[in-house]
């Protein structure tokens, strides 16, 4: 692939190297991920993925899917967030986050204590699409470390078919255009079918 014509570089098929200037949002995500990744595997999905690759908008939250960890491991993770100056926007009752939120398919939000924005929105995988994002993730390397993000083809399909707002379609278009020639069109078609079927069933 002719990566020399574009700024975004693939180190290998599943790793992208970014040599960008860091912003407030990147720093927030990197610091939160440093805690999160000690306790669970994860994948960043939705708006921040397009922002990471230059989309000109901010976001107040960063969506993250984590594996279905145990109640005990979740409590350890939340305790570490609290010990490091974060809080949960939904509740301070760490004991019951697992039963009252995550296992009920309700996401939780973690922000710096006293703040609501920006925050990371954490959820368990709800369906095959979420599981695929976790298992098929891409790696992004930059100055602050390594992030795991959703496959770009899945991002594009999800934004076009499931989310579908103007903002989401523009995000999808942005990713398609930046990564033109580097995306797997068959994968996009596969995800389009998968997500259309999922949308019909729900």
């Amino acid at each position: 692939m002719s990566e020399q014509t574009i700024s975004v570089r693939f180190e290998d098929k599943k790793t992208i190297v970014l040599d960008k200037e860091i912003n407030v949002l990147d720093r927030f995500v990197a610091e939160a991920i440093k805690i999160l990744e000690k306790h669970t595997s994860y994948v960043i999905v939705s708006g921040y993925v397009s922002i990471l690759f230059a989309r000109t908008r901010a976001t107040d939250d960063v969506d993250i899917i984590i594996e279905r960890i145990s109640k005990e491991n979740l409590k350890k993770m939340l305790k570490e967030f609290y010990d490091n100056g974060y809080w949960c926007l939904n509740t301070d009752d760490i004991e019951n986050v697992y039963d009252e939120f995550l296992t009920q398919d309700i996401s939780i939000r973690i922000a710096k204590k006293g703040c609501t924005v920006p925050n990371i929105e954490i959820k368990f995988p709800k369906n095959k699409v979420d599981e695929l994002a976790l298992t098929e993730h891409l790696t992004v390397k930059h100055e602050l470390g390594t992030f795991f993000i959703s496959p770009l083809e899945l991002q594009i399909s999800y934004k076009n078919i499931i989310l579908g707002s103007y903002k989401d379609k523009e995000d999808a278009l942005h990713i398609e255009r930046v990564f033109k020639g580097l995306l797997n069109k068959e994968k996009i078609k596969y995800f389009d079918v998968l997500l259309n079927n999922y949308a019909k069933r729900n």
């Binding site: 014509t5 574009i6 700024s7 975004v8 970014l18 040599d19 960008k20 200037e21 912003n23 407030v24 949002l25 922002i51 690759f53 230059a54 989309r55 000109t56 908008r57 901010a58 107040d60 939250d61 926007l89 939904n90 939000r109 006293g114 703040c115 609501t116 924005v117 920006p118 707002s165 103007y166 523009e170 278009l173 942005h174 255009r177 930046v178 033109k180």
Partner: protein, 71 residues
């Protein structure tokens, strides 16, 4: 005298302009270094987040729930 356009036409024009910019900017990203595009992007992101008014947890979650219900 400027021709008046309907709200629908204005919306369509706005959409076309937005798409034009998405494509223009994506091409800029492709053809410039990460440092160059990120410096420009960060003017927007840093200013939006540094200037943000912090809402209470309750109000923020209420707004997010209502936004989800409306979409």
């Amino acid at each position: 005298m400027q021709k008046e356009i309907s709200p629908q036409e204005a919306q369509e024009l706005n959409k076309k302009q937005r798409i034009w910019f998405v494509n223009y900017w994506a091409d800029f990203v492709r053809n410039n270094t990460d440092l160059e595009w990120s410096r420009q992007q960060n003017v927007i992101i840093d200013s939006q987040l540094k200037g943000v008014k912090q809402l209470s947890r309750e109000l923020y979650l209420k707004i997010k729930r209502n936004k989800h219900m409306l979409s």
